[in-house]
């Protein structure tokens, strides 16, 4: 009986110890700096849920403030994973300026082209030379630079109206408050023939959408939405390797790829160097 008791106590202690070590090893704080309602916070939520399924203890928070997340990355003693937007790196004076370093970088998790599209259910939408168009864009991203150049090139005038995020732009389109929009939300409806998109920040022609880089030679033609995951200094060695492995398997999974596709985004398997180059080019595209 005494022996039995000893075995049970030893086993119990072993289980408790191993589970503590295991949970400690696979524990991470995942902070979202992007605002709610956007594509980035939605995919970060999905990644966090998949990480939990893979046995990670995730403290997931949508902080919605990149400045706070940036400060936490710098000062916290906890291992932190955070999603970052390439556009935040356009100016070194920004509080959220944080270009990825190789040792902190995990992977890009969303690449979504920005498309110039017409209203819903207007499949004959076209830009008529000499006319003025009210066009909705995301605020603070300097899209007027590219749109003014495009307007000059094709002979139309764009009246750029800045909205808080894509959700508000969608509402403005439904309310017929604007004539066109230049966001990352158009591809799916264009492919499903619910609206017509004319131009986009694409590499090559896709579904009759003209890539802007064939018309204009400015850096701004690469203003796609690119988001990536990075970690702080407390995620190193085995922990980083395990996290990297799990996240890459999540973003390469069929479910995740389908989810990206259904929101008009995509992700191709690229080398680390190519991903970093894309982030750098995208940051430049948001400059004035």
């Amino acid at each position: 009986m005494k022996k039995m008791k000893k075995i049970i106590v030893t086993l119990f202690t072993f289980i408790m110890l191993t589970s503590t070590v295991y949970s400690k090893e696979k524990s991470i704080s995942f902070y979202v700096g992007h605002s709610n309602g956007g594509i980035s916070s939605a995919f970060q939520t999905a990644i966090s849920q998949e990480l939990i399924k893979k046995g990670w203890d995730v403290d997931f928070k949508i902080i919605g403030n990149c400045g706070q997340v940036s400060e936490l990355l710098k000062t916290s003693n906890k291992p932190i994973l955070a999603g970052w937007g390439a556009d935040w790196n356009s100016l070194a004076t920004n509080v959220c300026y944080n270009p990825p370093k190789k040792q902190e970088f995990i992977t890009t998790f969303v690449v979504s082209p920005r498309l110039l599209c017409g209203p819903y259910n207007d499949l004959n939408f076209k830009l008529v030379e000499g006319k003025k168009y009210k066009i909705a864009v995301n605020q603070g991203q300097n899209h007027h630079v590219l749109l003014n150049a495009l307007g000059k090139k094709i002979g139309v005038e764009f009246h750029v109206i800045e909205y808080k995020n894509s959700g508000f732009i969608k509402r403005a389109m439904q309310a017929k408050e604007v004539d066109a929009w230049f966001t990352t939300r158009g591809l799916v409806d264009h492919e499903n023939k619910k609206q017509k998109c004319l131009y986009g920040t694409l590499d090559k022609k896709y579904a009759d959408i003209v890539p802007l880089n064939t018309l204009l030679s400015t850096d701004n033609v690469f203003s796609s939405f690119v988001a990536y995951l990075l970690v702080n200094k407390n995620v190193q060695g085995e922990l980083k390797k395990q996290l990297e492995k799990d996240i890459i398997s999540i973003v390469n999974s069929k479910v995740y790829q389908n989810a990206l596709k259904s929101s008009g985004a995509f992700l191709t398997k690229e080398t680390l160097e190519k991903q970093l180059a894309l982030i750098e080019a995208t940051a430049k595209a948001y400059k004035k």
Partner: protein, 441 residues
């Protein structure tokens, strides 16, 4: 399925309890429920809110009739008629009529809610930024003319609310705007909503009622029910008035029952059994009707128009919720279908509890009033500190809560609703003005 069942039962019973307890208003109910709200998906949070607030209104008049205390302004008509009710042993009849009036004025608007939401969504004018500005303007006007304070005080409070709402680091695309952060990272997130709302509204209200047992007089509910016909038309009139007043920002749910009571006085001016019951039923019907329509601006435009709804909005905004863009379904039914089903089921539960078990419940509450109130304060304090533990700048959160509570208690004669409203509309107001400046500038 289990989550919807749990939400339905918890919200209904929390709401019934909050309504029965004087001092536990709808804002305090939402603050106390924060730990639960943080784990629920946004759609279930909205369901919880709708069910909880509706149930609290159901039992609110019971509290007024039974204890003679006004937990919220909505209970004023019940309190005003209380003397006559007690004198003439109409307690049971009053409870029955208020319960039937409540259920009628809930179910009819619930049935209309979905077509109403679809109608609003189908009319693009209502989604326009200029329309949002118009709503903001109406909210501002209501805040300035908010009758509890002087107009000058209201203007100051409103401006202070908008100012406080702008403190912090705002991300504007690829750039950021810092406002009164003094380069302190703990201030990037701005002044926490729970600190503002809890400190200025909930804490002073609870402090007001902390020793309320001294003034309470418990009514005897064990009296025979009197034979009076249910005043159907009074209930319909009250219900319809409630539907419209529910859309009025900041005050809609509060003035609905009072307005219906005054209107009914025109139809039934005398002090007899029928008139008193008609006025009471009309007020109670308006009260519940307004709780349904108050949801419409939130569900379509994402604008919260009463403080308790503002707490809800602040929680669901952290869960990627966007107005009118919910794709949540359960067992093939969408959010609106579940809203209608659960509101109907909850109304029936409320009716059964308020009419059948009220003697037992109020007897128990009557015996343990003081302890229950203190327990509620403890739960609310734990909930607020739990919410604080979720944010990174914990010390700042707690400091803000203490400072605002101190201000709320010190200036207890001032009603801080305009400040809270200003705090909540601040962001939308600034965004709307910026968009319109682009549009017409």
């Amino acid at each position: 399925m289990i989550e919807i069942f749990v939400t339905l039962l918890t919200a209904t019973f929390f709401g019934l309890f909050a309504g029965l307890m004087p001092g536990i208003g709808s804002s305090a109910l939402m603050l106390t429920s924060l730990p639960l709200l943080y784990v629920l998906p946004p759609e279930l949070c909205i369901l919880f809110y709708a069910l909880g607030i509706q149930s609290s209104q159901f039992s609110g008049s019971v509290s007024a009739i039974n204890f003679g205390m006004m937990g919220e302004l909505t209970s004023y008509p019940a309190l005003a008629e209380r003397q006559y009710i007690l004198k003439n042993n109409l307690q049971q009849t009053a409870l029955k009529f208020t319960a039937i009036g409540s259920i009628l004025s809930c179910i009819v608007p619930i049935m209309c809610l979905y077509p109403l939401l679809e109608w609003f969504r189908g009319h693009s004018l209502l989604m326009r930024t200029d329309f949002t500005l118009l709503i903001m303007f109406i909210i501002i006007l209501f805040c300035i003319w908010y009758k509890t304070n002087s107009k000058l005080t209201n203007v100051f409070l409103l401006a202070a609310g908008i100012f406080i709402s702008q403190i912090g680091l705002r991300s504007q695309g690829s750039a950021e705007r810092e406002f009164f952060t003094f380069d302190q990272p703990f201030m990037y997130g701005g002044i926490p909503m729970i600190a503002v709302l809890g400190g200025l509204i909930a804490v002073p209200l609870i402090m007001k009622y902390i020793n309320w047992k001294e003034t309470v007089s418990v009514a005897i509910l064990d009296v025979p029910e009197q034979k009076i016909n249910f005043p159907v038309w009074s209930s319909v009139r009250g219900g319809l008035l409630g539907l419209f007043t529910g859309l009025l920002p900041a005050v809609g749910t509060q003035i609905g029952s009072n307005l219906a009571w005054r209107v009914e006085k025109f139809f039934h001016p005398n002090d007899n059994h029928v008139s008193v019951m008609s006025r009471l039923t009309s007020a109670e019907s308006a009260n519940n009707g307004s709780q349904i329509t108050v949801l419409i601006p939130l569900l379509i435009l994402g604008i919260a128009i009463v403080p308790s709804e503002m707490i809800l909005l602040s929680v669901i905004e952290t869960k990627s919720w966007m107005p009118g863009q919910s794709t949540w379904t359960l067992l093939g039914l969408n959010f609106y279908a579940w809203l209608m089903i659960t509101l109907t089921v909850s109304s029936i539960i409320c009716y059964i509890v308020c009419y059948t078990f009220i003697k037992v419940i109020s007897g128990w509450i009557g015996k343990h009033l003081n302890n229950i109130n203190k327990f509620c304060i403890l739960i609310m304090a734990i909930s607020v500190f739990y919410a604080g533990s979720l944010v990174e700048a914990r010390t700042f959160f707690v400091s803000c809560f203490i400072i605002f509570s101190f201000i709320g208690i010190l200036f207890k004669k001032i009603d801080f609703i305009p400040l809270v409203a200003g705090y909540f509309i601040g962001d939308i107001l600034i965004d709307t003005i910026v968009i319109l400046s682009f549009m017409y500038g």
